[in-house]
Symmetry: C2
Subunit: 139 residues, 2 copies
DNA sequence: CCGCATCCATCTGGATACTG
DNA sequence: CAGTATCCAGATGGATGCGG
């Protein structure tokens, strides 16, 4: 590779052209379709947790103390609907439910972890930039 | 590499431990801090557009027909505050303003494009999964 | 041309209480 | 234990009009 800091022009144009309204609306744009969900406040966190192995509902709840039951259920449902995680019910006496990454979900881990790694690497730079900006604005 | 579908356990645990409330709140968690912004409905799109070269305000507006002026300004401000883009004002007769990717913004392109590529690759699979889920639910 | 301010509709997400 | 239902506050985001 030379040094393409950007997506191949064609691919990007495809996405953007479509997105510009030629019958390829926002919800049909692959990029937005995925990124929007990742912005879901809990999705990436749950995905990362499940990447460490299958987990039961209660285990997830405990691992993420400040998620509400409502949001946990809802986010898991959305991830399941997108085929990123799988849900298995065990008919034990008090029924238990286990969630795990699907193959599709596993395949997302690569790109996702790249992003997470970037975030950790550059977090300080971002915070510094914000501090600079806010200070400049105060003046 | 063996086949680490997950972030290094240590790194993930760092992020999650901190996030679990030990003085490393949600807004201080590097992962959420970045991902949340990318979920901003327009951020990734603008970042991708600017990756193709500097653009003026009006050019961005035209390139993204269905963004409101308000959201365009606001998103650009947020990106600028995070140090991902730079803003330069040219004192021409009707003043013009040019936005461009900062070095930090350029460094984000790699991980971001990996994600975009994944989205395009697996978009069909996701849509299929949704269709399956919705159909199963209708029953 | 660029951006801000205001007003207003919608969506997101949390607290709580209740069911199988 | 896992999930649903209801209610409600706050954030998000669009439309419009004004200002430099």
């Amino acid at each position: 590779m030379k040094e393409p800091p950007t997506l191949s022009p064609e691919a990007l144009c495809d996405a953007l052209d479509g997105w510009k309204g030629q019958g390829f609306t926002a919800s049909d744009c692959p990029v937005r379709d995925v990124i929007d969900h990742l912005g879901d406040k809990w999705s990436t966190l749950l995905l990362s947790l499940l990447a460490t192995g299958p987990k039961r509902f209660g285990a997830l709840r405990r691992a993420v103390p400040d998620i509400s039951q409502r949001m946990l259920t809802q986010t898991l449902r959305d991830l399941q609907r997108d085929g990123l995680i799988e849900r298995e019910v065990f008919p034990t006496k008090p029924p238990s439910v286990e969630y795990s990454l699907s193959p599709l979900g596993v395949s997302l881990q690569g790109p996702l972890n790249a992003l997470i790694a970037w975030a950790m690497d550059h977090h300080n730079a971002i915070r510094a930039a914000r501090a600079r900006y806010d200070e400049a604005e105060a003046a």
